[in-house]
Subunit: 117 residues, 2 copies
DNA sequence: AGCATATGCTACGCTTTATGTAGCACGTCA
DNA sequence: TGACGTGCTACATAAAGCGTAGCATATGCT
C-alpha cells in the first residue's frame, strides 16, 4: 500500500487536503501506537515490536516505512521521532488524559460530563 | 467486532490501560475522520456518509455504534459530538495545523525541521 | 388516500489489510 | 567457529473493510 501524502488523493478523499492524508495515515492500525511507544526514547526494531504487544514484523515494518516516508520517524541507531514527529506527539499526548477521564466516567457515569436527558 | 473499553483487554494490549483502548478505537479506519467531520455541526447519517467520501453504510454504522458506545457521539436528531466528544476533538484539531506544515515541508524540504544529512 | 422522497440501517459477496510463524542475511563478541 | 542479536522478508490464513442493493419507517405533497 502507498503512504498517504499531502497534495495527493488518499483513501477516502480525492481532494489532496493535507489533513485527509494525515487522518488516513493515523487511522491505520498500529500507527498511533508506534508513535505513542516512541514518546520518550528511541527503540530498536525488536524492542518496539515487543512494546507493541509483539505486533507482526510485517506490520511493524510497513508502518515504520510509512512513518519514515512521512518524516515522522527516523532510523538512526534505533527508531526515534523526528522534530516533526515530536510535534505530532504533542497532539497525541493529551489523549492519555482524555482516556483516563473516560475510564473514570465509566466507573461512575452520569456525572456532569454526559448530556442531560 | 467489539468496542474497546478502558479496563478491558483490547487488540494489541491486555493491560486494560485506558490509553490502549483509546488508541485501538481511534486506530480504526474512519473513526478519526468521523469525529473530524462532526467538528462543527450535527449531521444526519447520510450527510455524514457523503462527507466521508461515501464510506459504505456498513462501516459508518459500525463506527458510529462504537463511538456512541464510547460516549463520544450521540444520536439525537442527527449525529453530534457529546461533551467528552468535543473534548476529544480538541486533541484532534491541532492535527490540521500539523498537516499543513507537513505539506509545506514537503514543498520545500530540508528547511530546519528535517534531519541533517 | 396515493405517491414521492428521505431517513437509518442491514445483507451479502468480494477485495484489501492484518496476523502468525518461520527464517534469511548481516554484524558482534567470545 | 558458533552462539547471539539485529533488521527485515515470505507466505499462507484470518479479519476488517468495501460496494451494491434493498428494506422498513417517517414526512410531506397533491
Amino acid at each position: 500500500m502507498t503512504t498517504p501524502k499531502p497534495g495527493h488523493p488518499v483513501r477516502g478523499s480525492t481532494t489532496g487536503r493535507p489533513i485527509m492524508a494525515l487522518l488516513d495515515l493515523l487511522g491505520r492500525r498500529w500507527t498511533l501506537r508506534v508513535i505513542w511507544e516512541l514518546r520518550d526514547e528511541a527503540l530498536t526494531f525488536r524492542a518496539l515490536r515487543s512494546r507493541c504487544d509483539d505486533v507482526s514484523p510485517t506490520m511493524l515494518n510497513r508502518r515504520l516505512a510509512e512513518l519514515r516516508d512521512a518524516g515522522i520517524v527516523a532510523a538512526e541507531g534505533g527508531y526515534a521521532l523526528t522534530g516533526p514527529g515530536l510535534e505530532l506527539l504533542q497532539a497525541i499526548l493529551p489523549l492519555q488524559r482524555w482516556a483516563d477521564d473516560w475510564a473514570a466516567r465509566r466507573d461512575r457515569p452520569a456525572a456532569g460530563s454526559g448530556r442531560a436527558p
